[in-house]
Structures are given as C-alpha cells and as structure tokens.
C-alpha cells in the first residue's frame, strides 16, 4: 500500500506517455515518485493508448526508418502545419532533444516495428511501436515499477494547493476518500480537456453534444482549469481542437483509430442539406485528413455523409462499421434521411462538372471538376455506378490546444512572467506552446516525451535541493 501521508519528492499527475516519462526520469534522478492516474489500470495511459508512432530527428536510416530527418526539415514541417503558431525556443528544444528517442525508448522497454501498411508516408520520419500505444504504455508502467515509481490508479486529483506560485500539495480522491498528498515538486501531465463536454459547450454551444471524443474519457481538464485558476499563463486557442472525420456510429469516447474513415477522396461528401461543402480532392488524404473534423463541426447538425459508388468502394482502408448500401441514390437518400431530390441534384451537378482524366490515387491526378463550387481538384470520377455506399461522419476530437505556458525547464509560467519554481507541466497540457495549431503525425508524443523527461529531471533536481 502506498503511504499517502509521507512527503514525496515528486508527484506526477497523469498516466500517459508524458507522465510516465516524467516519473521514470525523476526516479532515475534519485527522487521518490508517486504517479497518480485517474483511470483504472485496465484503461490507463490517457490518449497515449491510442497512438502508434513517434516523430523524431535522426541523421541516418535504420532498420525501422527509411531515411534521415534533420532538424531543419523537422522545423519546416512544424512551421508549415502551425503557420508560425509555435514558440521557436521550445520548438527547437523539442526537435533537438528528440534525437536520442530511438535509443532511449527501447532502454525503457519500448519495441519498434516496421511502419504499418498504409502508413508508408510516415516511414521515414516516424518510429512505430510494436503493438501500438498501449504496448508502449504497458512497457513504461513495467519499467516505472521496476525503477520504484509508486503508482496509484483511479486517483482523481481535484485541485492543487499553490501559494505564491509554490506548489504545496495535491488533493486526491481515491478509494472513496480524499487525501492531501504533499510533495516537493509536481509534474502535471494530465492531458487536455477534450473529454469535458460541458467545457466544450462554453465555446461550441449545442454543437458540442454532437462531437465524438476519440480518446480517453478521463481527459476532463480539471488540472488545466486549476492551473489557470492559480495564475498560469494560458497558451493556445481555447476554441480550437484537432479533429478528424469519424464514423457517426462511433462510441462517444475512446473509439480511437478504428472509427476514422478514409473514403472522402473517393467520392463526394454532403451535409445534412445534401450539399457539398468542401473540396474532397484537395490534397492527399494523410495531409488533409486532419481538417475534416473541423469542417464537419461547422456544418449544420455537425453531420456529413461520405458517398462513394462502386468505383470508389474498396479503395480505402476498411473501417469498423459497414457502409449503408443502396442500389440508387434515391434509396440511399432515404436510408440517410436526406432529401432525395437535393441529393440527386448535388450528385448530378457534380457528375456533370467532372472532366475526363487519368485516375491515379498515387499522385495528384488530373481528374477534377470544372465550374463547380466547391470544386473537387483531384480524383474526381462521376458517382453513378451502383451500388452506392454512404458513411455518416461526425467530428472526432483528438486533442485540444489550450494549455499552460512553460519555459525550457518545463516550469509553468505565471501571468506575471515568473516561472513557478516547483510546478512543472508536460504533454498535451502544454503542447500548445509548440503545436499552437494544426497537426503533425506522431509529434504530440515527441512533445510529451521530451517535456516529460525535462519535467522529471528538473522536478527531481528541485526536490534534491
């Protein structure tokens, strides 16, 4: 049994990648460490359980990556997706400190595998974990236990006692009782607030009820709110989140990777009024897949329908729910409860606008529409060969951008610009410093690992003073 009355050197709040990296590093730095995970052990690991790969800087290929990925290219990629919404100092630090992950992670129990089929576009830049994110999380928990980190599950941290920017203790609900856990330093690595629907409603109103949360239901952002209440300086747009198109039949929480749909480029997407609203063939799906959640979140009723015909069927990764199938567009409209005439008119206008070309999903081909708004720039083929398939789509929220500002020591920065001496943050709760906007595959884990390690190291150092 963990003795909660003793004073720990470091208490880590959270149970995902960043928390585990902080806990292991602090423990290796000689600190006594208590990790508080809100989930039960069967569901531990936050959103890290749904991940599969990590982006890192490397100067040569290996058995698991196909080529090099240098600092400048990494920085350019980050600049491109964030449009400059990044902290240059912290971004450089993250990229440089990612260089040893290929060795550090296996030293802590993680095993690599070759890039999964269908993810070849990431084969050069990202390392894939054997068995995916939960296997990584399991490996870290096993290593943490071996190192002597104490772990408490179903430990819900209600709030922190902070006086003049100095952390004193955490109030923890666990096993039906409330405990005050004292420590010399704290690392907050408890994720974003995307699973907190009432909080999302503050920005999105009723639309928030139609969002699907792809990850853990435990990311309710309680500690984020608490830190902001203690005067932490916010970073990132509170209204913004990263969201992809997921099947509307997905579970409300924790559906993870299998509910995403890759059918969009192979047909048309219409909204509740049976109207198209965005260019389905703008760019390659891996580059575009990240914007469709946000697009659908802004459509009436937060719903859309991806429609493909016999030509498009089978060209995309299989998904977990079967398509709705019909022999005619009118029947399909009936099944989707869309206005059949409106759907017929939309598809007919689309088919008329399609110009002949040579269809090639492996490149930005010349199959496009002309005189249509919005256009379909590539892979445009008429949708006219039965059977017709439809998938209902909802915004699937992956993470939120709002966080707390940190400095290069992972210390939380307060409103007046002072860093809090023994209050550290890592992972999604501070990722907005570096990824202020957009999405870069496997980069959330990079931030979490790099800042988890920095926070653990600095927290242990602080505790030993």
């Amino acid at each position: 049994m963990t003795d909660l009355t003793r004073v720990f050197d470091v208490v880590v709040i959270g149970g995902g990648n960043a928390a585990l990296c902080a806990a292991m590093t602090a423990r290796r730095g000689g600190a006594s460490v208590l990790l508080l995970e809100a989930a039960p052990d069967s569901m531990r690991g936050g959103n890290s359980r749904h991940t599969r790969d990590i982006r890192y800087m490397h100067d040569r290929p290996s058995a698991f990556v196909t080529g090099s990925y240098g600092e400048e290219e990494f920085r350019d990629d980050l600049e491109r997706v964030t449009g400059g919404k990044t902290n240059e100092e912290l971004a450089r630090l993250t990229i440089r400190e990612s260089a040893d992950l290929g060795d550090w992670m296996p030293e802590h129990g993680v095993r690599w595998q070759r890039p999964l089929k269908g993810t070849l576009h990431l084969g050069r830049t990202n390392l894939f974990f054997l068995g995916g994110g939960k296997a990584m999380v399991n490996a870290y928990y096993a290593t943490a236990r071996t190192l002597g980190v104490e772990v408490l599950y179903e430990a819900d941290v209600a709030r922190l006692n902070v006086r003049d920017g100095l952390f004193q203790s955490a109030i923890v609900a666990q096993g039906g009782a409330s405990h005050e856990v004292r420590a010399k330093a704290v690392v907050v690595a408890s994720g974003g607030f995307e699973a907190n629907i009432p909080w999302l409603r503050e920005y999105w109103g009723d639309a928030a009820d139609n969002f699907v949360i792809r990850g853990t239901p435990y990311n309710r952002g309680g500690l984020l709110k608490d830190l902001l209440g203690h005067g932490a300086r916010p970073v990132g747009d509170p209204r913004e989140f990263h969201a992809v198109a997921v099947d509307a039949r997905a579970p409300k929480f924790d559906g993870g990777i299998v509910t995403r749909l890759d059918s969009v480029p192979f047909g048309v997407v219409v909204n509740r009024d049976a109207c198209r609203f965005y260019d389905e063939g703008e760019d390659f799906w891996p580059k575009r897949y990240a914007i469709w959640g946000g697009l659908i979140a802004r459509q009436p009723g937060q719903i859309a329908y991806s429609i493909v015909d016999a030509r498009g069927a089978g060209r995309f990764m299989p998904s977990v729910f079967p398509p709705l199938e019909a022999g005619s567009l009118a029947d399909l409209a009936g099944a989707l409860r869309l206005d059949p005439e409106a759907l017929g008119a939309t598809v007919e206008a689309f088919n008329r606008a399609v110009r002949p070309g040579s269809f090639d999903p492996s490149r930005l081909d010349d199959c496009r529409t002309e005189g249509l708004h919005p256009p379909k720039s590539h892979w445009a083929l008429p949708v006219d060969q039965p059977p017709f398939w439809a998938y209902p789509l909802r915004p699937g929220i992956t993470f939120t951008y709002l966080g707390v500002t940190v400095n290069r020591h992972a210390q939380v920065v307060l409103q007046d610009g002072r860093p809090a001496p023994n209050l550290f943050a890592a992972g999604e709760v501070m990722a907005g410093n570096i990824l202020g906007r957009g999405y870069l595959a496997g980069f959330g884990l990079t931030i979490g690992t790099v800042f988890g390690r920095i926070a653990g190291r600095e927290a242990a150092r602080h505790a030993s003073r």
């Binding site: 599969r52 068995g131 995916g132 299998v258």
Partner: protein
C-alpha cells in the same frame, strides 16, 4: 461448421482489427488478415489456426475488455480452434471427446493401463509379472513382441489417418488446392516457421505468457517438449531397426543409441511438460479458452506420464518392478496414442496446414 454465433463474434473482432492493424508486427495472423476485407467462416478458421496464442495482441489492445469493443482475439480464436479440431475429426462419436478432453484423457489413460496390466496378469500370470528379467528379450518375456508392436502400430496408423483426413478437409475448406499442398517453397517456409516456433516470438519480444510481461519461456519449454518427443520417436525407430533388421532385441545398454536418445528425449519432455503446466497454472485466464486449456493439460499430462514411466522403467529395469512398470508404461503410451487424434496433438496438423497456406498467400502478395 463452428456455431454461427462464434463465427459472427470472430468476424466482428477481425473487422475491428483490420481497421486498426497496430499488431501487424507480432505474428502471421494480422498480415494475413490484411489481405482480406471480409471474413467468411473459412477465413476465420484459417486465421484461428494460424494463431499461436502468444497473447501479445490481447495485452497490446486498446479495445480489450473492459472497452466496449471487447476485442479478445486469443480467446475467440482458441474457441474456433477447438471447433476446428472437433469438426474435422472422425468419427462423430469420438470427435465429441474434444468437448471433455480432460475427463476423456484420464479415462483412456486409466483404462489402457488397467487393460495392459490385466492382460499380462491373466495371460502371463503374476509369477512372470513380478520376477526379474534381464538380458536380450527381457521385455518380451513380459509382453510378447507381437502384442507390443501390432496394437501400437494399429493405434498409430489409425490416429494418423484420422488427422490426415481432417487436415485434407481443412485444406479444401480453406480453399487450398491439391497442387498447392505440394508447393515446395511454401512447405519449406512453413517447416522453418513451425520448427522454430517463430510466432511464439512475438516479433522478437516473446509471448505475454503467463502474464502481461514478455517472456520466451513458453517457446523454449515448447521446444523441449517437441524436440523431446522427436528424440523419443527417433529412439523408438532406432530400436525398431535394431530389433527388426539387426536381430538385436531390447533392452539395450545404457550407452546405446536408443537408450541415450530416449533418455534425453524423456528428460526434455519431463522438464518441458512440467514447465508448461506450471506456466499454465499461473497464466491469466482472461485471454484463455477453458476447453482449450483443459485439452492442453490433458495432453501435457499424458506426455509427462509417458516420459516419467519410461524413465522409471529404465531406472528399474533390472529389478522385479520391471514387469509392472513395463505394463504401466505401455498403458500410458497406448493412452497417449489412442487420444492423439482427439486431443491437442491435432494442433500440429492444423497449424502446419495454416502455415503452408500463409506461406503461399504471402509469396503471392
């Protein structure tokens, strides 16, 4: 055919896995799954028999229970394998033994030992059974040559015929042609995979067996059992050649090939089966299928008893206990071979066929 509900459940899980694919690096099942978009009964039967039950995918699965998707591939595939062994077995009356293989194994064992002992007692008399026999032909003084060889041969041939018949039907049902069965490259590949137990390697990490930690213990213990079994087969074969063609009847000296091979094999089998039983005893029941676990235990115990009685017979063969021990040993051997086509031994045949099919498929893809 396996129950429709079981097929439906396995299909449901494979559709989830095929949309995720995180486990691709663990074994052959997931790359084989990715060659398909739909999963008919024959696909699922094939995939289930390609699964080595290493359980890595269960612990790595973010959708494992208590997640509402409740993905538990090792369990559902073990259920399908039990059904495969039963469905492809023959005759129907006896294939029911798969349902209660623990009880059946015990009964067959007890009855076989009793029958051999009784026959010796009645036909040869207690005086002969309890006296010391040494020198060439000592065993045959207790159980005559023909009585030892002919029933053993019959039982073995029967068992092989049942299993071969089953695996041929399995091959046809999973859409294999007769020509494909003779694909030399696939055959070699499958043989290498089988003899190395490649897919108990978990992509280098080992099995999550007996629990969430990665370990190669099961693979090594299984190697001991399998190669111990082969050594004992080799010992028997060499002894048969000595006896039959060289006119040199058992028992053989301690440093002769049959005794050295047999002893080594026996010791390996004892260590391997005890190790596997102990791992099974500790193992997490969540990804396990109870009927399969009982079948495993029955087969392991039969192998263990056969090896132990064999080793004991070797140790005490020059004492008055030899006659009784020989009868008991022959009884356990008989029980092992009678139960062969109706127990876990079947996995050799169906997994091997699945590995060949996999080698053919992957070479094409």
């Amino acid at each position: 055919m396996p129950a429709a509900e079981l097929i439906k459940e396995a299909e449901r899980q494979m559709v989830i896995c095929n949309a995720c694919r995180y486990c691709e690096g663990f074994c052959a099942v997931f790359p084989a799954m990715e060659l398909r978009r739909t999963f008919a009964a024959r696909d699922l039967t094939y995939l289930a028999n390609l699964c080595f039950d290493c359980r890595d995918c269960y612990y790595a699965c973010q959708y494992a229970p208590p997640h509402e998707f409740a993905v538990n591939v090792p369990k559902v595939f073990a259920e399908l394998r039990v059904e495969t062994y039963r469905d492809y077995s023959w005759p129907r009356v006896l294939s029911g033994l798969y349902r209660r293989s623990g009880l059946a194994g015990g009964l067959i064992g007890a009855v076989s030992v009793a029958v051999v002992l009784l026959l010796v007692l009645i036909l040869r008399g207690p005086g002969l059974l309890f006296s010391t026999h040494v020198g060439p032909g000592a065993f045959y003084a207790v159980v005559p040559y023909a009585a030892m060889v002919l029933p053993a041969l019959a039982i073995t041939l029967y068992g092989l015929a049942v299993l071969l018949g089953g695996v041929i039907r399995f091959w046809r049902d999973t859409h294999g042609s007769a020509g494909e069965m003779l694909d030399a490259r696939a055959f070699l590949r499958a043989t290498a995979d089988a003899f190395s137990l490649r897919y108990l390697g978990g992509g280098g990490a080992g099995c999550n067996y007996p629990d969430e930690g990665f370990s190669h213990a099961r693979r090594w213990l299984h190697h001991l059992v399998f190669y111990g079994f082969l050594l004992d087969l080799a010992a028997t074969t060499v002894a048969a050649i000595y006896d039959h063609f060289l006119g040199w009847p058992a028992p053989y000296p301690l440093l002769s090939a049959p005794v050295v091979l047999g002893t080594l094999g026996g010791v390996m089998l004892v260590i391997g089966t005890v190790g596997l039983l102990s791992l099974k005893w500790q193992s997490d029941p969540a990804p396990a299928e109870r009927r399969m676990a009982r079948m495993d235990v029955a087969f392991l115990l039969a192998l263990l008893l056969t090896s132990l009685t064999g080793l004991l017979l070797l140790a005490l063969r020059e004492t008055p206990a030899m006659g009784t021990l020989l009868a008991i040993h022959l009884g356990t051997v008989a029980a092992l071979f009678i139960a062969l086509p109706y127990g876990k031994f079947a996995h050799l045949f169906y997994r091997y066929a699945a590995l060949i099919r996999n080698a053919i498929e992957q070479a094409r893809a």
